[in-house]
């Protein structure tokens, strides 16, 4: 699993951080998503899928 974030689309809702805090973070200055683990371990996959689903602007995708 590879996680992609479109930082141009992101509106800093912070829902991905709530769903998968070990994989996502928010930039201090503007709240925009930071992918901490672009290739997350298997045990985080479910939380990452939740994060992708919960993003209000579809800024996250998987490959």
């Amino acid at each position: 699993m590879k996680v992609h974030a479109d930082r141009g689309r992101c509106v800093a809702a912070g829902q991905c951080i709530l769903a998968a805090p070990e994989v996502f973070d928010q930039a201090e200055e503007d709240g925009i998503v930071i992918v901490r683990l672009p290739e997350p371990p298997a045990e985080a996959h479910r939380a990452v899928r939740d994060a992708v689903r919960d993003c209000p602007v579809r800024a996250l995708s998987l490959s």
Partner: protein, 407 residues
């Protein structure tokens, strides 16, 4: 949500959602389900077209062919201080201006910032719960009233003695979104005078925090950040007033509803009592099962059709969150309150680029309230039937008393 626009002839065949009839509010879910099962779109008896099913609601909220509904124009106002204020706030903007404001404001609401505020939130919850536990009962309306105001006061840095004044002014400002108020010159004058007081207070806060930064949201927003664009003083004032307004009735309603649901579903409350970490999931389910916001509005940027139904540029559409959340096409066992559900949940914060800016703060407030209510009590019971207020697009109760036994 009201509108003074005349309905389109093409909407004449849509099922009517009689939100102007008090009877429709007794069981709002049944009212909405009747229309939703007939069609993806309905029309209120006031002539506002409404999206009812999960797929269409999601589509409209996430689509870049729509902008936020002009709530002030919808109630018949096209000028004046109230109109000007609303059009300075983030809701009224589209990208790229929206994107800029969103990023500047979002810095104050990141998950990390909200976590820093948790001790303040927890203390407010404890203080509000304590007297209820001593008395053995709780008036939900009082509890839910005190909580968001003190928390919002705490995070914005409003002194405790000013909180009541804010409460009254915010109610007065909120009345501006009603057709009746905006048609009455006295009503309009009251709205504008409340707005002026709130703006003056906000301007004073900006001056004060610039000179003496504190650990609050206003200080975060006014801070100079090298090499990064920042909010102008006018933008700061408009948005401080906006945050006071947006965090007021919404959070009050959500707190009332969360408390009511814990009392009504002791099996679910017992789960939280055993495992307080479930309070996050419980709040997501509260925000799905009984969203405090009945609907939000969007308007098309150009004439368009969805599912063969035409919509006109600049004419608002009600996007009914309460209905989408109970759509069996969107959720399994949609009518069941289940804090352990694993599919998509909270819909009450909206979606798309206007997704609630304060959602993380609201969630933290509600989580602390739910955790406190479950863990500090041995039981919470309703002492009479639940009666929802009619005609309120921000939902809640006039009164509701609970019996509480301390743990």
């Amino acid at each position: 949500m009201e509108s003074t626009f005349a309905p389109l002839p093409a909407h004449a065949d849509l099922p009517v959602v009689p939100l102007g009839d008090a009877a429709a509010w007794v069981d709002l879910h049944a009212t909405l389900a009747a229309a939703r099962e007939a069609s993806p779109f309905g029309i209120t008896d006031a002539g506002l077209p409404v999206a009812l099913r999960f797929a269409e609601v999601e589509y409209i909220l996430k689509s870049d062919q729509f902008e936020f509904g002009d709530l002030i124009a919808a109630v018949g106002q096209t000028e004046g201080p109230f109109y000007d204020w609303w059009h300075e706030t983030i809701s009224a903007f589209n990208p790229p201006a929206h994107t800029r404001l969103r990023r500047l404001l979002a810095a104050a609401f990141t998950a990390r910032r909200v976590n820093d505020l948790r001790p303040t939130i927890r203390r407010v919850v404890e203080d509000a719960l304590e007297p209820c536990l001593e008395r053995g009962y709780m008036d939900i309306v009082d509890f839910a009233h005190v909580l968001p105001m003190r928390i919002m006061g705490g995070v914005l840095g409003i002194p405790r003695e000013d909180v009541t004044v804010f409460d009254t002014l915010t109610d007065q400002l909120a009345s501006g979104f009603n057709v009746a108020t905006s048609k009455d010159p006295v009503g309009v004058a009251n709205v504008n005078s409340a707005l002026k007081e709130l703006q003056e207070y906000a301007a004073e806060m900006v001056r004060d925090r610039r000179a003496h930064p504190k650990d609050d949201i206003v200080s975060t927003l006014v801070q100079e950040r090298d090499g990064i664009d920042r909010l102008t003083d006018a933008e700061l004032v408009a948005h401080i007033v906006f945050m006071i307004f947006a965090g007021h009735d919404t959070t009050k309603g959500a707190t009332q509803i969360a408390t009511m649901l814990l009392a009504k579903h002791p099996d679910q409350t017992a789960l939280i009592r055993e495992n307080p970490d479930l309070s996050g999931a419980a709040v997501d389910e509260v925000m799905r099962y009984e969203s405090p916001v009945v609907m939000t509005t969007r308007q098309p940027l150009a004439d368009l059709e969805i599912e063969g139904v035409p919509f006109v540029q600049g004419r608002p559409i009600g996007v009914v969150l309460v209905s989408a959340a109970r759509d069996p096409r969107g959720f399994e066992r949609a009518d069941q309150f289940d804090i352990c559900r694993t599919e998509r949940r909270a819909i009450g914060f909206g979606s798309g680029i206007h997704f609630c800016l304060g959602a993380n703060l609201a969630k933290a407030e509600l989580q602390e309230a739910v955790r406190g209510l479950a863990t500090r009590t041995a039981s919470i019971e309703l002492t009479h039937d639940v009666a929802w207020q009619p005609f309120k697009t921000l939902r809640g109760f006039d009164e509701l008393r609970l019996a509480v036994t301390p743990s």
